[in-house]
Every structure is written in C-alpha cells, then in structure tokens.
C-alpha cells in the first residue's frame, strides 16, 4: 500500500490506493450500465417499434463491443486515473484531453441525475399502487445523491464493494424474472404478435431512430478504465473486467427485451418509466414485483454510485493537470479519495436531477458518451501509428485492427443521425457548448498547464514528432 510518492518535480503528494481487482472492474462497469436494462432502453421501442428495439439492442451491442475492444488495448497501456482522458492526453493532445474529460464528467453526472430521477419515479409508482398519490419525489432524489456522494467520499473500496453486491442482486433479478416467466409464473402469457401485425410502425427510418436509446443499454461500460490508477493489475484486470462486463450486458439486454416485449404492448413499453418493474406487475406475481422493485432500486443506486466515482475521477485528473483549477486535485488525507471533486459535483447533479425532464437528461448523457466513442476511433488509429505494436508493450492487443475502429465510426455516425431525429436541437446546443469550451481552454486555460507534465508514460518519442 502506497502512502506517499514523489512526483517528477520532487514534491510529495498523496496517491489513490491500488486495491481493486477484476471483479471490482466488472462491478464498476456493469454497475453503471445495468440500470440501462431497468429504464431508458425501452424508449428505443417507442422510437421504432418492437423489432427496431431488438435491432437497436444488437447494433448498440456491436458498437459497445468495438468500444470495449479498443478501450481495453489503450487502457491496459495507459493505466492512469481518468481513463480516456489520460489516453487523449498522451495520444492526441491537451485540448482533446480536456474535451474527453468534459465528455466523461457530463455523461456520468447526467446519468447520475437520471438515476436519481428514476428512484423518485419508482417510489412514486409504488406509492400510487398503494393508493398514495402525489408523492413528493424531490427529497428522495436529494437523499440518494447525498448518500452515494458520502459513500464515495469515504473510500473507493467500500464504494465498489457496495456496488458489487447490489449490482449482482439487480442482475439476478433480471435472470429470475426471465426464468420465472419461462416456467409459467406469469398470469398473462408472452405475446409477440406485434412482430407480425405491426412490425415497423415507422418503416426503416424507425430502426435508425431507435439506435438513439439503444445506446442506453450499455452506456457507461467504458467507465471501467476510470479506476485504472486504483486497480492492482491494470493490464490484466481492465480488459478482463471490461470484456466480462460487455458479455454480461449483452445477455441481460437480450433477456430484458424478450421479457418486456412479450409482456407489454409495444406502445406502452415505448414510454414506460420502469419497464422491468412493469413487466413484473404484468405477471401478477407479488414475489416478482418485490424482486424487480428491489432490482430497479439497486440498479439505479449502483449506477449513480459508479457515476459519482467516475465523474469525480475525471474532474480530479483534469484539476491535477491544471486543466481546471488545481484546488480540485486534492486527495483526502485519510480516505484517499478525490473528495473535493466528489463534493463539487453533487450540486451540479442535483441541479439537473431536480430541474430537467428525464429524456433531456438522458439525451445529454448519451450525446456526451457518443462524442467520447467518436474520439476513440481516431485515438486508436493515432495510437497504433505513433507507437506501433513493436514499439511499446500492450497489456492487451485487440484483434482485427482497424475493423473495430471502422465499424465504430460508422455506428457512431448512424447514432448521431438517430439523435438528430427528434433531438436535433439538443445535439446542436451541445456541439456549441463543446466548441465554446474548447476555445476557452485553448486561448485562456492552457497557459496554466505545465507542458512537459502532460506526458508521463515511459514510452519512446511518438513516431512523426
């Protein structure tokens, strides 16, 4: 266990603890993402119909498989807190790194806000089932965010161990629902007649449009590499945990689509707030209802928990490099967590959770994620060009390069168009935000950055420089 280490400049500073194993990496990735099975993915059915929802599930799965393959290679080599942020810093340059850091902070903070909104909605739904209408959701939203921020403040091991347990329970709940329905526990039979009677209500454009919310099935799996500096063996644990995570999610996503599409009319499913819980309601089985209520609550809490962890690491990393005020780059002297970054992001999450509609928050999160995946495509190409395979040793080398990169770029382009169909204003507003922020960084903030400190890997000089 490291207590203190010296920096290149000779000054002592505290470092994050290396205490995490592959199971924690899996829990961090799946924990953030599994909530996508419990809410949000079903809007893809609303945007394109039942078949479009399934195609979005698989196409988005392909997109994220490419993301996981690419990310595993780069992260197993650039094992530093901040994940893709550290990658961008070493491979593309400081401005790209600043943008990637913002992608991560925005994507995870918005996802955290969306989770808190869902907690409030779930409790309101259950209260309504008990005859108590008009529940004030706001105290529960505030409580959820504050509790998880406190947990993160106290230490990463306790936080991710907590995530491991509640993620496992949420995942088991999906399997239990699937098995129970297959064994005849549902009072209402599965019905897929809409596949033949109303296969593509929007035609082929609906399939493209549905990819927008199809991303929600897996959004955040790339968060596994945020903890790179706190993993005991990054070269082994990060690829293993990430790939295990994507396989877990592919299975869970398919089971989720199958159960929900079979138990609910697609028109209802396409606008439901808590689809898996609603599916349990349709079965008429009280035990399943309780289980899926617990699963939904745990999935949202696990996701919000992981989001706080990841967003704060990205903010911390940027501050440590002076891309943001360095005051945020402090590590807690006792708990060894980036406590100032954790506390600072709490009110931001609350502003969005308490003041913005769920679909807007979700779209904001998806767009930031999508920009990050687009970055991964040229980042991978530049990584291989600047340091070919024989120049530096990778912990993991992904196969078939550049095929995953090309597929990812095509799917990202399609996803931009999918978001444009219905949410073009948000897309334009977000692009304007990142353009202005980039100019602000380049012309104002960059002067506070130490140039040489932006490259800390023990690598040879990049090819072409």
């Amino acid at each position: 266990m490291e207590n203190v280490t010296s920096t290149a400049a000779g000054t002592d500073r505290l470092r994050l603890l290396r205490v995490l194993g592959p199971a924690h990496v899996w829990a961090l990735g799946v924990g953030i993402v599994l909530v996508g099975e419990y809410m949000g993915w079903n809007f893809s059915v609303g945007k394109g119909g039942m078949i479009a929802g399934l195609m979005a599930c698989w196409v988005a799965g392909l997109l994220y498989t490419c993301v996981a393959m690419i990310d595993s290679e780069v992260t197993s080599t650039v094992a530093a807190a901040g994940g893709q942020y550290a990658q961008a810093k070493h491979i593309v340059g400081p401005l790209m790194a600043f943008n990637v850091g913002l992608f991560l902070v925005m994507a995870y903070t918005m996802l955290e806000a969306a989770n808190a909104i869902t907690v409030g909605f779930l409790l309101d739904t259950v209260a309504g089932m008990q005859g108590q209408t008009g529940l004030n959701q706001q105290p529960f939203i505030v409580l959820a965010i504050m509790f998880l921020a406190w947990l993160n403040y106290r230490g990463v091991l306790a936080t991710l161990t907590f995530n491991l347990v509640i993620t496992a329970i949420a995942f088991i709940a999906i399997i239990a629902l699937f098995m129970s329905v297959q064994l005849g526990a549902s009072a209402v039979p599965l019905d897929f007649s809409a596949i033949t009677s109303d296969p593509l209500p929007y035609g082929w454009v609906g399939i493209v449009a549905s990819l927008h919310f199809g991303l929600w099935y897996y959004l955040g799996i790339e968060g596994t590499c945020q903890a790179a500096e706190e993993v005991r063996s990054p070269a082994r644990s990060l690829p293993y945990g990430t790939m295990a995570g994507i396989m877990t999610l592919l299975i869970a996503a398919t089971m989720t689509w199958y159960i929900c599409s079979g138990l609910m009319p697609w028109e209802y499913l396409g606008q439901a707030g808590t689809p898996l819980f609603d599916a349990a309601r349709v079965t008429g089985n009280t035990s399943l209802m309780v289980l899926l209520f617990v699963g939904t609550a745990f999935a949202t809490l696990a996701s919000a928990n992981g989001c706080i962890n990841d967003a704060s690491r990205a903010w911390f990393s940027m501050s440590r490099d002076r891309y943001l005020p360095s005051w945020f780059g402090a590590v807690h002297p006792v708990y060894r967590t980036p406590y100032r970054a954790i506390v600072f992001l709490v009110p931001i999450a609350l502003i969005f959770a308490l003041g913005a509609p769920l679909d807007q928050v979700v779209t904001f999160s998806i767009l930031s994620g999508l920009l990050g995946y687009t970055f991964m495509t040229f980042n991978m190409v530049m990584f291989r060009n600047k340091w070919p395979l024989d120049k530096i040793k990778r912990g993991y080398v992904h196969p078939f390069h550049p095929l995953p990169t090309i597929v990812l770029l095509i799917l990202c382009s399609t996803a931009y168009f999918a978001v444009f169909l219905g949410y073009g204003t948000q897309l334009s507003a977000m692009m304007c935000f990142y353009i202005v922020a980039s100019l602000w960084f380049h012309f104002r903030r960059y002067k506070f950055v130490r140039r040489g400190d932006q490259f800390t890997m023990p690598w040879p000089k990049p090819h072409g420089y």
Binding site: M264, E267, L324, Y416, M431, A437, R451
Partner: protein, 127 residues
C-alpha cells in the same frame, strides 16, 4: 527551457469554474427555456376507441389490464402517439458541419499543443 506557467489567483480559479458551470447549465437549459427541446411525439386519438379499433388483441388487453388500464379511452393517446421524423436537409447539413468541424478544430489545436508537450518532454521536435 521548460515552460513555467503563471500562478493563478483564487479569484481566477473561481472565475474559470463559474464560466464552465454557466456554459454547462446553459447548454441544457437554454433549449428547454426556448421550448426547442424534446421529441416530436404527437398523439392522434381516434373517436370512440375500443380495444379492437386500437389494434389490441385479447392477450394485449390482458396486459393493459394488468398495468392498471382497463378503459381503452385511457390508452388512446399512448397507442396512437407517433414521432414525426420529417426533417430538413439544411438542418442535417448544419448538424454534420458542427460535429465534423468540432472534431477537426479540436484535433488541429490539440496537435499544436501536443508538439509543445513532446518538445519539452523529449527535446527538440522534428518538423
């Protein structure tokens, strides 16, 4: 000689954080306040709806009932709502220019900064 950045004052740090916060919150809330955000999903309710006229078979009717909706009129808006995916090509081109232009700008400016980093880290750079 290594570049030595200026020391930033506390007021400057606060100013920078506030700038980012305003940009962030503005990006989400300005479209909301201007009424430009949100999906164009519009209900097209039919007159005197029945489950049959809404295209719901017997099993689907059971499912609606299990979800607490037994009156077809209550499901009318949900079943008949549809997105409007019509768009103008000029809007699509503007979006494409924004996304592509953004990445081109960031990569080019990043490369300029990256060369300074490499020069300081490894010595003289090769042009």
């Amino acid at each position: 000689m290594a570049y030595e950045p200026p020391k930033q004052s506390l007021a400057g740090q606060i100013f920078d954080v506030v700038t980012l916060l305003v940009l962030t919150i503005g990006a989400l809330y300005i479209p909301l306040y201007l009424g430009l955000a949100g999906a164009a999903k519009v209900p097209n309710p039919i007159a005197n709806p029945t489950w049959e006229s809404l295209g719901q078979n017997a099993t689907e009717q059971q499912q609606w009932a299990a979800l607490g909706i037994t009156d077809p009129a209550a499901a009318n808006d949900i079943i008949t709502a549809r997105f409007d995916y019509s768009f103008s090509w000029s809007s699509l081109i503007v979006m494409a220019v924004l996304v592509i232009g953004y990445f081109v700008m960031v990569v080019r400016l990043s490369d300029r900064e990256y060369r300074e980093v490499i020069e300081e880290r490894f010595g003289t750079k090769r042009r």
